[in-house]
Amino acid sequence: MYRIEFFKIVQRKFNYIYFVTVLCLLFFCILKDNVILKFLDISKGVYIYEYLLKYMLIFIILLNLINIILSYREDYTSKARNIIINSSKSNFSNIFSKLLINFIVFFVYYLLFYSFVIAYYIYKKDISLSDFYSINSIYYLLIVGSLLLLVNSLVLFFVSIFNNTNLAISFSVLFLIGSKFLTNYLQNTFVFFDNLKYTFFDVINNVFLGLVENIAFNYLVENLIVLLANFLIIFLITVLINGLKTK
């Protein structure tokens, strides 16, 4: 099951093209950093952690989202689904393998960019090695990882409801972009809706905004719990929906 999902991602050519394009963009941003820094009037640490690495995260979330939807839909379009659901593998392992492999591949994808950026600035002596080895970078990557997990499970949830490639892609992008608008509006109307910040409606936005150079431990723990709890709930609902579909 895991090998199938891995093969599916590897054979998609647009992943490589996307990788090269984003890398070119990154090169441009790094080489011209002095101009950009002067224009924005910010420090180098802020530029690296709040601008460069966040842009990379946006690009990778977008690619991850398309990949996981295509992985799910490919089973249906190729009719391989009938082979899979009648095999000895359970429905859970089918969904879980999609989630896990997509998560691992794109987290590694992100790590490549991350290490590239950090390595360049260590070489330029803008960041010291001790900064890199500090707990802070681990905090940063932990939050990015759990964010990717939540986004993956959310997209799987959407695609198993709609079961349509275009609809799932557009709806999940709309959700990721527009949910802030919705929650802001709801929170203004009624006090009870303040609790929305603990649900997947708002948590992705909040965590994304909170990705800064120095992350406090309390902030990390609080957000990790919220992210992982949301991830678990959505993932279980997704497994349930898919279980109902096969019957």
């Binding site: 093969f7 599916k8 490919e74 190729s78 391989a80 899979i84 009648n86 000895s88």
Partner: protein, 281 residues
Amino acid sequence: MSLVFKNFKKKLSRKKYLELDFILDSKSSLVVVDENINNLNLIANVFLKKEKYEGEVVINKQNLKNLKYYPFFVDNIGFYKKITVYNNFKLLLSLYKIKLEKSVLLNYFAQADINQNEKYDKLDEDNKIKLKLLFNYLVSKDFLIFYVEKYSNSVAVMEYLETLIELSLENKKTLLLLSSSLNRLTRNIKKAVIISENKQVYFDDIDKLNVVKDLIIIEIDNYVEEILYKDLIFDFKLIDNKLIVRKSDMEDVLYYFVKSGIDVISINDFNENTKLYLDKE
């Protein structure tokens, strides 16, 4: 694996029912023949659990309704388009815990005349069907169903299907074919169920059917029964003025009639009721 259709009854339209009742023993083979393709589709759908019916369909002493069984008909399965043929098979067979050595699998591909490094998407339609048939053969360990009718317009597929059927007969798999006619593919099959106008008209060995197929009715006049019994040396039967003989003996019989001045009114095929000859007075 054995298959039993016990008092199977399905309503087709008003006052029209499809009724079946037969047994396919373990390690045996059977062909269901019906000119009406709708009925064959219906039987295929029974195995896919898409039809409601009266009676029971029992596979290996378990009712099909309670059994997790899936027939791999060509229309219902597919492979990943951008992955090579060999990888597709390796990955999907591993889901069924079937481990074949590479040389064995490559041998199967060579038999089907398919390049294992080709991507599934780039194969032509015949080869795609062949692959699905091969997958069906590899996955269904002891009970195999082939819906023969679907591929009758391609010679290459029919030839490959023939080799697969021979292979499964050699390996003593329980084999069920759904076909609209008795043809080259069905020649080595042991038993046949023949459906005509929604009724099961025949269920027995296919060899016996061939004997019936071979008979001819000759209507004669101006003869003496006792002399006939004395003179004719081959098997025949006389009912009223109708003589039933084998096709192979027809030449001799007609020669005898001409010699002894017996009139022939008509010659009919036994099972098709078509008139081969009719004497216009």
